[in-house]
């Protein structure tokens, strides 16, 4: 048993948690902000897929990884706006819009990659894995002093630029939500749109900003997937991370920090699955682990939320009483 533990919980296992968490975390932050505005964007998965493809293609064409990342970001934002246009202006159901986005992300991108590569490369390819070479991978950063600390150093240092960005964005998202007027507007639109519009806040504008933000985050997550996590785009490569992000958002009670921790729980579960199957455990036994963790996480979250709601309810009642007395 002890043997098993020391085989699993190695330094590179902990290192991999961050690598695996990063794309989930990007999408999670998108989910956090968009949910705060009262919108359930289940299309994150599709946006990740789309921006992953365009990121890898443009990185290959331009020969620069950062061009790929910026394009992925831009594609995410544009797709966010597109979803917003359908959902807010044309009043389509937001869930159906999300499903459509996901179909675009899987089938649509496979179609596009074949068409595009047929034009540019002269043959229809089903993936871009052959195009992305090591020099197009998002570079890793070695953090001077941190690097030298034993155990902690190799776990925390040497990650990609985007990995660090993901964690920095947790803090920035929190600042945006709670310290800026944009965040205040987003929260009020999500909670009581009538209240927001009655004081002159443009509800639709705020919703557009929120969904574009979620698109941007999913875009970065997509770039991470095709240009760091895997080398190049291939079908179904995002593998449900956009949905896991929604679960993380819910488990973290919609707060940036809590959702980050939840995303790390999923990162841990996936890393565990990978590691355990690497040391020879049947992968059929291992592959459900992340999903079981998701379900358990949501159950725990629901229980906590119920307790909290009850608590709040009576707190409000008490407050009422105290003020009457």
């Amino acid at each position: 048993m002890l043997d098993f533990l020391s085989m699993v919980f190695t330094i590179d296992f902990f290192y991999s948690i961050f690598r695996i968490t990063a794309p989930i975390l990007f999408a999670t932050l998108g989910a956090v902000v968009v949910e705060k505005a009262g919108i359930s964007n289940i299309g994150l998965e599709g946006i990740m897929m789309s921006s992953a493809l365009f990121g890898s293609l443009t990185a290959y064409w331009s020969g620069a990884w950062y061009v790929g990342v910026l394009v992925a970001l831009a594609v995410g934002i544009v797709l966010g706006f597109v979803m917003g246009f359908f959902a807010f202006n044309l009043k389509t159901d937001i869930i159906l819009t999300g499903i459509a986005m996901n179909m675009v992300g899987s089938g649509g991108m496979l179609f596009l990659v074949r068409v595009i590569t047929n034009l540019t490369e002269g043959r229809a390819m089903a993936s871009t894995t052959s195009l992305i070479t090591a020099n197009l991978q998002i570079p890793a950063v070695h953090i001077p002093l941190l690097e030298d600390i034993p155990i902690l150093g190799p776990i925390l240092s040497g990650h990609s630029v985007l990995t660090y960005l993901a964690f920095i964005l947790v803090f920035l998202t929190w600042v945006m939500l709670y310290k800026t007027s944009l965040g205040l507007n987003i929260r009020s639109v999500g909670e009581n749109p009538n209240a927001a519009s009655s004081v002159g806040i443009s509800v639709i504008r705020i919703k557009y900003i929120a969904i574009a933000f979620s698109g941007a985050m999913a875009g970065l997550g997509g770039a991470f997937m095709s240009m760091y996590y895997a080398m190049g785009w291939s079908q179904d490569m995002v593998a449900g991370r956009g949905f896991i992000a929604l679960a993380a958002q819910a488990m973290g009670a919609g707060e940036p920090l809590g959702s980050m921790l939840a995303a790390m729980v999923f990162g841990f579960a996936q890393a565990f699955g990978i590691k355990v199957s690497a040391i020879g455990v049947d992968s059929n036994l291992v592959s459900p682990i992340p999903y079981v963790v998701t379900i358990l996480g949501l159950v725990v979250f629901a229980l906590v939320a119920r307790r909290r709601a009850k608590h709040q309810h009576s707190a409000a009642a008490l407050e009422k009483l105290a003020s009457k007395a």
Partner: protein
Amino acid sequence: MAEARAAAENSVEEYVVQMKGITKVYPNGIAANQDVDLFVKKGEIHALMGENGAGKSTLMKMLFGLEQPTSGEIIINGEKVNLTSPTVAISKGIGMVHQHFMLVPSLTVAENMVLGIVPKKSGIFIDYKKAVEITKEYSQRFNLHVEPDAKVMDIPVGMKQKVEILKALVRGAKILILDEPTAVLTTQETTELFKELIHLKEQGYTIIFISHKLNEIMEITDRLTILRGGKSMGVHNTRDVTKEEISRLMVGRDVVLSVQKDVAKPTDTVLKVRDMEYVNEWGKKMLDKVSFSVRKGEILGIAGVEGNGQKELVDMLFNLNTPNAGTATVNGENILGLPQRKIREKGVSLVPEDRMVFGIAGDGTIEENLISDRCGSKDLNRGPLFNMNAIHDSCKKLIEDYLILCKSGKQKVKMLSGGNIQKVVVAREFSNDPVLIIADQPTRGIDVGATEFIRKKLVELSRSGIAVLLISADLSEVMELSDSLIVMYGGKIAAYFEDTRELNDEIMGEYMLGLKRQPEEQVRRVCHE
């Protein structure tokens, strides 16, 4: 010529709001306002009155830019305006406190105050300290006490109301629209609000005030405009009209304002509550050995300042909460802890206090809401399917009987005016052959005509042998409508009055505020043992 112009200018001076020939037809074809005139003088408190669905809120929504008139013009301070959005209305000095609160519950009072006009530091960050300062400053200037740092979800309704008023004032409103501000307030809170409104009036603010409570209108307003069925019934000086006249103008017939009922002849006990105790999560005793009985053929009222255990008591009886000790039976059978459907099967009906949350499903149609408690009954089903004709017929009858103002039973309930939503709830709860009706604030937010109707119905049902438990924050309502009455204070029954006819506000007040309490034996008589 010069004279005419002078007169015109004079009227410009005099009227801050002129709404002329306003007609509003909603997209679904309902003409909520037809050729309505509303002229409001500077510095007056102007009442807007009318039955549920008469179009009061609609008229005010147009003045606040939330809806646009189909035709007609609006002139503010002598200037013709096109109020396309609340932002425009706010810039013209109009502020509105809505019938249903427009606050964000998870934000603090200060944050709600500055929503949309957030003070910033270094360009992007919220200057929360400044927000608190602004809140404090306005709160002091207008003598409206609020807690800047408290979350809105934690503050009492009275304070929410003040936040709403302050919100309008912070945005520079000189004309305040208050849509039924007192519907959710207790007597004390209302008194306080009125003081504040008079204070505002003295400072030159103009107030448009909507309320169904005639006493309030008589007490606080200078003039009043009456709407009936979307049309204006003219404007009057408040001191020149009587309550009866106002009611007649509103309803189009004479309204009996006092309750007519013969002496109750109660028989067997129906609801029997014994030694009910409840300690809330914070260790506060909300129900303390509460025991009483309600008998067939009587209306037992529960009076008391809100928050003294009435809400908890109702929650227990309908299994929305679990007591720590005690029993409750209906016709000898336990009802505590049963699923609501089982409680209903025993013949218990509930008109809940919060109609929007517990009374209706807003997106359902009127018909769906009317049958929601009986959709399994044989009469409404044919085999495994609904008998749509039977449903339609029975609902049609209820809509007629209960005077629900709607285009058809297929309309969504949330589209109805507040009072008509309440009528849907009442129609359902009164028509399912109950043995016991628990009526929690049954006439809140309802016009005089409908109030008269519901009160009459309650008396009629009780005289036909149904037990009625009536909870109401409206003191005159409990006193007039109940045959006998208990007062709750601090989770205990502080007094029992066998005959309400010998009561007055003062005696009641002493018990409600906890200054007096009857001896145990006297209170115990409400158990009828």
